[in-house]
Symmetry: C2
Amino acid sequence: MDCWVIRQPTGRAYIVRVSVTTGLRRLVLGRRLASDQLQETLLPKRIALPIFGSDALSSVAYAPDEILLTLSLAGMAGFAFSWEIGVLVAVVMTIVVLSYRQTVHAYPSGGGAYEVATVNLGPNAGLTVASALLVDYVLTVAVSVSSGVQNAKSALPWLTGREGLVAMVVIIILMALNIRGVRESGTLFAFPTYAFIIGVIVMIAWGLIQIEVLGRPLQADSAQYQVVGDPRYDPFVGIAMVALLARAFSSGSAALTGVEAISNGVPAFRKPKSRNAATTLAMLGGVSITMLLGIIALANLTGVRMIEDGASYFTKDGQPVQVVERTVIGQLAETVFADFRPGFYFVVIVTMVVLFLAANTAFSGFPVLGSILGRDGFLPRQLHTRGDRLAYSNGIIMLAVAAIVLVLIFNADVTKLIQLYVVGVFVSFTLSQTGMIRHWTRHLKNETDPTKRPAMQRSRIINGIGVVCTAAVLIIVLISKFTHGAWAALLAMAILFGVMKLIKLHYVTVARETAWRPGDDRVLPSRVHAVVVVSKVTHPVVQAIMYAKASRPSTLEAITVEVDAEETQKLLLHWKSADLGLPLRVIASPYREVTGPIVKYVTTIQRSSPRDVVCVYIPEIVVGHWWEQPLHNQTGLLLRTRLHFAKGVMVTSVPYLLRSASVAKDRIARENPLAFRGIGTTQMQSDSQGDPTTVIPPSPKGNNG
Amino acid sequence: MDCWVIRQPTGRAYIVRVSVTTGLRRLVLGRRLASDQLQETLLPKRIALPIFGSDALSSVAYAPDEILLTLSLAGMAGFAFSWEIGVLVAVVMTIVVLSYRQTVHAYPSGGGAYEVATVNLGPNAGLTVASALLVDYVLTVAVSVSSGVQNAKSALPWLTGREGLVAMVVIIILMALNIRGVRESGTLFAFPTYAFIIGVIVMIAWGLIQIEVLGRPLQADSAQYQVVGDPRYDPFVGIAMVALLARAFSSGSAALTGVEAISNGVPAFRKPKSRNAATTLAMLGGVSITMLLGIIALANLTGVRMIEDGASYFTKDGQPVQVVERTVIGQLAETVFADFRPGFYFVVIVTMVVLFLAANTAFSGFPVLGSILGRDGFLPRQLHTRGDRLAYSNGIIMLAVAAIVLVLIFNADVTKLIQLYVVGVFVSFTLSQTGMIRHWTRHLKNETDPTKRPAMQRSRIINGIGVVCTAAVLIIVLISKFTHGAWAALLAMAILFGVMKLIKLHYVTVARETAWRPGDDRVLPSRVHAVVVVSKVTHPVVQAIMYAKASRPSTLEAITVEVDAEETQKLLLHWKSADLGLPLRVIASPYREVTGPIVKYVTTIQRSSPRDVVCVYIPEIVVGHWWEQPLHNQTGLLLRTRLHFAKGVMVTSVPYLLRSASVAKDRIARENPLAFRGIGTTQMQSDSQGDPTTVIPPSPKGNNG
């Protein structure tokens, strides 16, 4: 995740020393880079568009499908409305893009919805947005991967029936790549995203040319069927019609997902940052709308028909028929490129790849949000600090597991997953836009410069329109989708909200309990009793004994637990001949347990002299490969955990590096600078010249023991 | 997992202080109990039968189904052979039971197949058996739970289509119960197992009475359909017939799974152990055969028909029909108890429960085998020692995950899972019987007592018949099922074999590298440099500083990493006013990373004085609830891990107990003696009077630092 290579038009490649993840994370949080690195990290618009836009762009791969199949509930009459729905979605997208352009200008440091809501509306609004975003990340992965699999089915029909498992495998691969640390190169994102844009637009254009210019009557395969809708919508007028159109619009609004990504990434743009980001946002909106409307137009012209499983069905000559359903893009590509098979494969494959890339952006974005929430104490604080592959990996695994559960439950059915998706997106849109209105109102109060006020007022009006519009969509989504699954998304958000509140409460409580004020007790233990845990006389054990001796404790002894009488006899013989100069105590363990007797013995020592402290030395073997880890030190780990519950006891690990560990250490540091960042690099010098540390000496009257 | 209550006929309840798991584990390994506990732990035959027999007994719930549906490939003609196949399976079961009775007599200490094969045939044979058993445990869970779900479908038809997910949920529940530590009571096993036996036998008897005595023409629901088989088996003669009968027999052999459990549990029986175990084994065989043949007879009489999905199908009046397939027991219960619905529900429910119990025995048995393999160095050694809930839980989670993957891949289809199952069972049967022949041959060489020789020779002959028979079945299974899935089981076994060999090799290599001989280096570091990691001045930090001071290191300083300038300023003010008497060093971290700069700084200290040792003190907060754990000390954990790769550095954790931890410690010790076994119990006194420890003093010429 540490650098990407951008190949310049001149042919010269240079390395950008920041990944999307680290870039976003660092930049969203407003961290200034060392000035000599600054130029390299900034993105030209043409690279920023695919990096921040793949999620938004790829959503046109499923939004038209959802519009058509929802409309299919009204039978053939429904499809006539796909145009109107498409245009309405395009209008909302335009408004949202315009609104976010205001955010981009107002928060050049990266105005994520969470930040905007927290700053302007308070922590509860921020936490609501955060819950919505966390749910959305999971759904982005689930929906994008599922849609990718659905698309792949156009080319690989044997995937049918195995969608859930295939989606699971794809998610596991993405997870593994992200845990390993994929190197996200600009080209990795740029190439497939542009290929997707070009592929879809060429497909639309060539389709329209064939129909309108060459006069070929292109017909999709599904055009031969009739669609029978849900009888409940049979008189497609009045309430039924309004309800269905509202649902179709809600589903189509899935096209808006991912639009906010650019506003998070403003600091990654080249100067003038805000203007470039705003331009890119406009480009993104333009391209998305063009693709969306183009696909819907072509689908109308070629007579593409979709059904919603279990509600509407295909008929031919009045008889119900079983048809393997394909995505709209798959059907269009097949129709348009009927004489040019490679064109079909190209469109289907780039669509699939761009959808998987969109899922991948969630894997990058999730830890960024986690880091911010960790900083604010709503998630484990550890998530805030960097270089913590462990926490980072945990986040990725959590995201993957949640998405896998969803694709398995819904068998990678995009239609069902979409029901959950849109609500969270519009919750964060609405709250973020509301925050923006507050932002402008606050700034207008203090702004006296009459040249700046009109712009602010205009921005406030645009955000006002944005709020009204997104809130209206949110209400439509809630009403039309509540029973279809939106309730589950809301429930998940509520649970996350509650859990994060509780975490915050826990941190506050612990901070209160551990708070130390001058005058509080500072008991200095009078003596240290050292105990070295021994199982055999090996190099790691001898080293631990030597280190323990070097610490010159008041008392020092070795202890061993007798698990096997024969082993103990061997140890005693070896111990005598080794002549290490300290006594060995053998503790009986009739139940062949190791940690219990040691904990009991240590506790006994401590209780017999409560003013002293006991230090338990545990020799540990350090191995070089992750898979060797579970084979060693497990007893030490357990012992340490259990000793932590004893008062007046400290536990010292004495690591012994095997040869493989020394080799591995060098290899890891070479391959993966993140794991060992800070060792032997020059980063400390980048902020301050010379000694990077500052020493605050103790005051002279200090108690030195 | 620690005790079960057995209610005696007198009404007096007494507590047996050992669970199935711990009992098996302890007793299989030949560990002698303190004599005052010995009487209590031993099982009467009537309790031993359900505990060790639930797996074997429950397999009659799916074996008849597999016989019938395999035979369905030959259409209606096939079903005629179900009797012959059933009798053949019964004969093999009789031979296997007789063979295992010899094992029970020869290994009163518990002759698990692994032990028998290792002792008599060498480690590679033992490891082969172990691989087969590990695969079998996974399949026991997958098959038993799947079959339980299939049975439940008879009463809950809406489960259809969701079998995989339901099975997954059941496995997750079993996993959670076992991780939490279910208290396996004798009644928990005894009641449902006897209910199952009684239910099935009453069903068979009442069915036969109705048909033969009362003359009612009972017909199963599926009897109205005809079955059309696979055209490949259409002329049901010659090779096709032999092949199909062989396959049906192989599938039916699933009835033998679990028979070996009693031979592992001999030491848990009341005296005379071997004779009681042998009697129980005979009882188990008798009951199993009765139920198996009874079910097949009744299925024949009532015309139960099964189909194999995708190969054979039902027809009615010559037209193919869709019929929701039900298990044989479900169909029989419905037919026999047509006028008595509670009877139907009783049979279906106890069948389901006993199948889930059978899966649960795998959760108990898996860690036992893991412990033995850990002792021998084929799996992490930690598995060998007890009281290690962590390792124990890991084993349970691994077993559950593997079984879940299987039920998801095969959508809980028992028929497909059975294809994998039987091969492993017969690999271990065959190798274990071969080992028994070697055993008798070896003993016959040294046995001169002419009164004992005939019994041994007879045993050897019985085991000889056992080998021939089980080897023949193994070959039939391999040939008839290889392409149907047995290859996957063999592949899994081969991989496990390889992995375990590699683990052993790793242990041997590490032992060689760490071996220490008198005369090897024993470098005593000259000084200790202590560093206390500080983030805020809190009680845990002050305590760590005091403990560090008590250790009187050569140099002592506190260090902090500047992640946020404002936080650092606050810390410095607090530090000054706290007046703790040691300097605080602030390390810059431009990338907001904590561990890297600390590791770098510590490494620098160590490099500047390579003959010294650096001791890093990390204050840690100890919390009371498992869910609080991830919220604390994660940075400390990472820091410790990374410091382990540095030479000449030791890491001391200084735990600070929050109030919730002190409370939790007492609660855990009260609720769950396993977690804190050895603290404050009397176990040490049970083996030796007075001081349970022995001290080996250092020899006078020892170097005391």
